[in-house]
């Protein structure tokens, strides 16, 4: 079935089966990816998928279902499943958005305005992908004699379309496309291997620059050769912008209203309190041109808007969907996130730590006589997103008296909330490319280092 037709059938069938309200999402995507190894194509993959997800509300009780079979009978079964499941759940106390809260085609932030789609992406074909892989591989092997293997090398493109409809007449559509390239290089010195990786995504494949990315990956690999542990103890730590977003994202669940309301966030009851130094602003930014998290309407059809959750260092609020805003009795904020297989949650559209008050990395490195500049994180599972406890293996450089010595086999510990409240400074730039997290490098006054 065509998406609009399938969405209409699902909503109508849910109503007929006893749903008082319902919303439904259609997602489809196509992608093509190519992996190469030692000058040859190892894999070429093409994906073509579509699915429909439905939320039926019966007396405010939600039931969810989804289907990847998209014939009328399967869509009808999906609708009946959702209504049947609603009898098991507890009421949410929400109502789907009324027309004035919604946006759609013709609104000020329709997807074309956000630049999520450029036709050029469809021209990124297997030949172009292989050419970029071969050029990058050759460049990486020439760049340094210590390069011994390139186990990860690939390019891809993907395009997607999402439509959201509800029983009150909302219908919104979003289309996006992007091209990516990535390379992982292993170099060796004295029998020790170090991996360096770099990858990038752009809307327009002509911006990928595979050779530049390859050189970056080589540099990231060889710069860590000869790394050694350094003695345990407290040390100022500069998290490079390569890892700062990944690091912060471990703990972002604390900003979900749902987690706050249910006692699994340490930010419970702290609105209005200081979390970070003055000038530190952490925001959700749904309208950044071209970026991965940009969107005109959220997963429930509400208009999105940029908002600071931490403003001048003070906690101002959380990320809400209709359910959590209703529970708190506040106006909806348009942060709902949804895919067709799952239930509605909330999230940052694009996460941004603003650059106000930022300083260059070189300046930050010199803020203390000795700084550990971290460029690589090794797994986040030692970190506890609820308590905020940090325990994570890292690699990087000890910066001391103008020299940089590579460091590995060390782990950092501390607490993210203490780290933020004592943050010494942050950088003045972000990584390039299409992404959904914009965090400059972060200088923590003191984390505990173990080796």
């Amino acid at each position: 079935m065509e998406p609009r037709e399938a969405l209409a059938l699902a909503l109508e069938e849910a109503r007929a089966a006893g749903a008082h309200e319902a919303d439904a999402i259609w997602e489809e995507s196509e992608s093509l990816s190519l992996d190469a190894f030692e000058g040859k194509v190892q894999n070429l993959e093409r994906s073509d998928s579509a699915g429909l997800g439905l939320r039926a509300l019966v007396d405010g009780r939600p039931g969810y279902s989804f289907t990847e079979r998209l014939a009328p009978d399967a869509v009808r079964r999906c609708a009946r499943d959702a209504v049947a499941l609603a009898r098991f759940t507890d009421p949410l106390g929400l109502h789907l958005p009324s027309p004035e809260m919604q946006v759609g085609p013709g609104s000020p932030y329709h997807s074309e305005d956000l630049g999520l789609w450029v036709p050029a992406v469809e021209g990124f074909d297997p030949k172009a992908m292989l050419d970029s892989c071969l050029a990058a591989e050759a460049k990486a092997r020439q760049a340094d004699p210590r390069v011994v293997n390139i186990p990860h090398l690939g390019a891809s493109r993907s395009t997607g379309r999402m439509l959201l409809a509800n029983s009150k007449g909302f219908l919104g559509e979003r289309r996006s496309g992007s091209a990516s390239f990535g390379i992982g290089v292993v170099s060796r010195q004295d029998g020790i291997d170090k991996m360096g990786w770099d990858g990038i995504t752009w809307r327009d494949p002509s911006r990928l620059d595979p050779e530049g990315i390859a050189l970056q990956a080589v540099e990231r690999s060889v710069e860590l050769l000869g790394a050694r542990p350094i003695p345990s103890g407290p040390l100022p730590v500069l998290l490079d912008e390569r890892v700062s977003a990944q690091f912060l994202s471990i703990f972002l669940g604390a900003f979900l209203a749902d987690a706050v309301q249910k006692g699994s966030s340490r930010l419970v009851g702290r609105v209005g309190e200081r979390l970070a130094p003055p000038d530190f602003h952490l925001s959700t930014q749904p309208h950044l041109k071209e970026m991965s998290g940009s969107r005109a309407f959220d997963g429930e059809g509400l208009a999105t808007s940029p908002r600071r959750l931490v403003d001048d260092g003070i906690l101002r609020g959380f990320l809400h969907n209709l359910e959590t805003s209703a529970r708190e009795g506040i106006a909806p904020t348009g942060d709902a996130v949804r895919g067709y297989t799952g239930r509605v949650s909330a999230g940052f559209s694009n996460l941004q730590v603003e650059l106000v008050g930022g300083r260059s990395r070189e300046t930050l490195e010199q803020a203390f006589p000795k700084v550990l500049h971290v460029v690589k994180l090794e797994g986040s599972t030692g970190c506890n997103p609820i308590s905020g406890d940090i325990s994570i293996g890292v690699q990087g450089f000890l910066v001391q008296g103008g020299s940089r010595t590579p460091v590995d086999r060390v782990s950092l510990s501390g607490n993210i909330f203490e780290m933020l409240s004592e943050l010494e400074g942050w950088g003045d730039g972000y990584r390039v490319g299409i992404r959904s997290q914009f965090v400059p490098c972060l200088l923590a006054r003191s984390l505990r280092l173990a080796s």
Binding site: K40, D48, E68, F88, N149, I392
Partner: protein, 461 residues
């Protein structure tokens, strides 16, 4: 999928030069129930459906998947993919056809979980919630889920392979948050099996929930973990995640194909102490990671990886086996029709030894007892790993002391192996989800308690 239609698709693939063509047809039903904050927060059901088409040209794999099952659209995919193929494939002898007749289905689901209304599932979730809360008034939050998945798959290939399988998994999870004076700690349990709803009937849901709650509450009073190199006694069951990440992944032919493993060329060599034997076994009855057939139709088997410290073998799918010159082990796996199969683990474990936990505590002197491991990660190309300790205790001269939190274990897989000094007699398996090139798949990790001396512990004090 009717066989004649499949035959015409294979014919088209062969005409375009494919050495092998394969269709993987899957229909999977999911259902899940989530209880949180004393409420049934969501109930979900769903159907996944799709067809994966794989064409192999020498060592080159072309893979496409679609939810459109018409012959025309599948033939179009064959044409488009073959036309797009860069012509650089090397000649590779894929070896004998797969004989898919040998396996006898040992994992039938007895109770189909498709209808969530028929049973005591809601009650089980409520009992889990109550028993966790009864442990302490410091229990602040409980969430609990029941997940079912039933896949019906069909694998056909151009050599005449014709295998059908019906796979059912059931899992119960409970996550408890304990809170005291602003401190928050968590405890989790997540048992699962390759079974239908009958798994839930035999499960002591209350005991699982209490165990998670008690751990969360105990960790509230834990002191920061020490830091530095020291002997560590790694607890049984989920402690096997370290072997899985640090040695299991590098023993997949998928790593060997890319020369991204420190074990390349080392079969027959000593890689660990003689006390260590490690196995990957897809045949264990009802185990979460067990199979009947792998995802290219090869009957599953038990594969010895390390025996008495000597490296014996790798985990191989058909292409990995052909490329690396190794025997196939029935290890081709994929999350769903969306992925081409590659070599993956099933139930991977360190076999039991003879030491008691007390013997190992006595022998370790001063160090850390990592009773329960959290998750972790590894870079297979370099072997570097990092794991969290969810529940840990200090050990001083063989005596178990105070609880500690925030510890991580860091090192390199192939360097840690020779440092496993004693192997316990308290073997246990634990289910988990493994993510890699062919998606998220159910696997078991497992081991008895192991004494590793020394290992780097990251902590706060």
């Amino acid at each position: 999928m009717d066989r004649e239609r499949a035959g015409r698709i294979f014919q088209a693939a062969r005409t375009r030069g494919a050495d092998l063509a394969e269709l993987f047809v899957e229909e999977t039903r999911f259902s899940s129930l989530l209880l949180r904050d004393r409420k049934i927060e969501s109930a979900t059901a769903g159907t996944e459906f799709g067809i994966g088409l794989r064409m192999v040209f020498g060592g080159q794999v072309l893979y496409a998947h679609t939810s459109r099952e018409s012959e025309d659209s599948l033939l179009r995919v064959v044409e488009e993919m073959a036309a797009a193929r860069p012509r650089d494939g090397s000649g590779l002898d894929l070896g004998d056809p797969i004989d898919g007749r040998k396996a006898v289905a040992p994992h039938p689901a007895r109770l189909d979980p498709d209808d969530p209304g028929v049973d005591g599932r809601l009650e089980a979730l409520r009992r889990a919630d109550e028993s966790a809360r009864s442990v302490s008034d410091r229990v602040a939050q409980v969430s609990s889920t029941l997940l079912h998945r039933r896949s019906r798959i069909l694998i056909l290939n151009s050599e005449g392979l014709d295998v059908e399988d019906d796979r059912c998994w059931t899992r119960f999870t409970v996550a408890v948050v304990a809170e005291h004076q602003g401190q928050r700690q968590t405890g989790n349990e997540a048992p699962g099996a390759r079974r239908g709803l009958e798994f839930l009937r035999g499960l002591d849901v209350e005991a699982q929930s209490r165990r998670a709650a008690e751990r969360a509450v105990r960790m509230l009073d834990a002191a920061p973990a020490p830091a530095g190199e020291m002997p560590v006694l790694i607890g049984n069951g989920f402690g096997g995640v370290i072997f899985h990440e640090a040695c299991g992944h590098p023993l997949e032919t998928e790593a060997l194909r890319r020369k991204a493993t420190p074990f390349a060329g080392r079969i027959g060599e000593s890689v660990a102490q003689p006390c260590l034997t490690a196995i990957d076994d897809g045949t264990l009855p009802d185990a979460w990671g067990s199979l009947d057939f792998d995802d290219e139709g090869t009957p599953t088997e038990r594969t010895v990886l390390i025996e008495g410290g000597i490296l014996k073998g790798f985990l191989a799918d058909r292409i990995g086996a052909a490329e690396c010159g190794l025997p196939r082990t029935g290890s081709a796996r994929r999350e769903s029709y969306r992925y081409a199969p590659v070599s993956r683990m099933r139930n991977t474990f360190v076999a039991p030894g003879t030491s008691s936990v007390q013997d190992m505590l006595d022998s370790m002197g001063t160090g850390l007892w990592a009773v329960r491991m959290g998750g972790g990660s590894v870079n297979p190309a370099t072997g570097e790993f990092n794991f969290a300790v969810e529940e840990g205790y200090l050990v001083k001269e063989g005596r178990v002391g105070e609880a500690v939190r925030g510890a991580t274990l860091t090192g390199k897989g192939h360097e840690i192996m020779p440092r496993i000094r004693m192997v316990g007699d308290d073997f246990e398996l634990a289910p988990g989800t493994c993510g890699a090139a062919s998606g998220q798949i159910p696997v078991c990790v497992g081991q008895p308690s192991l004494l590793v001396d020394p290992i780097l512990v990251g902590g706060r004090s």
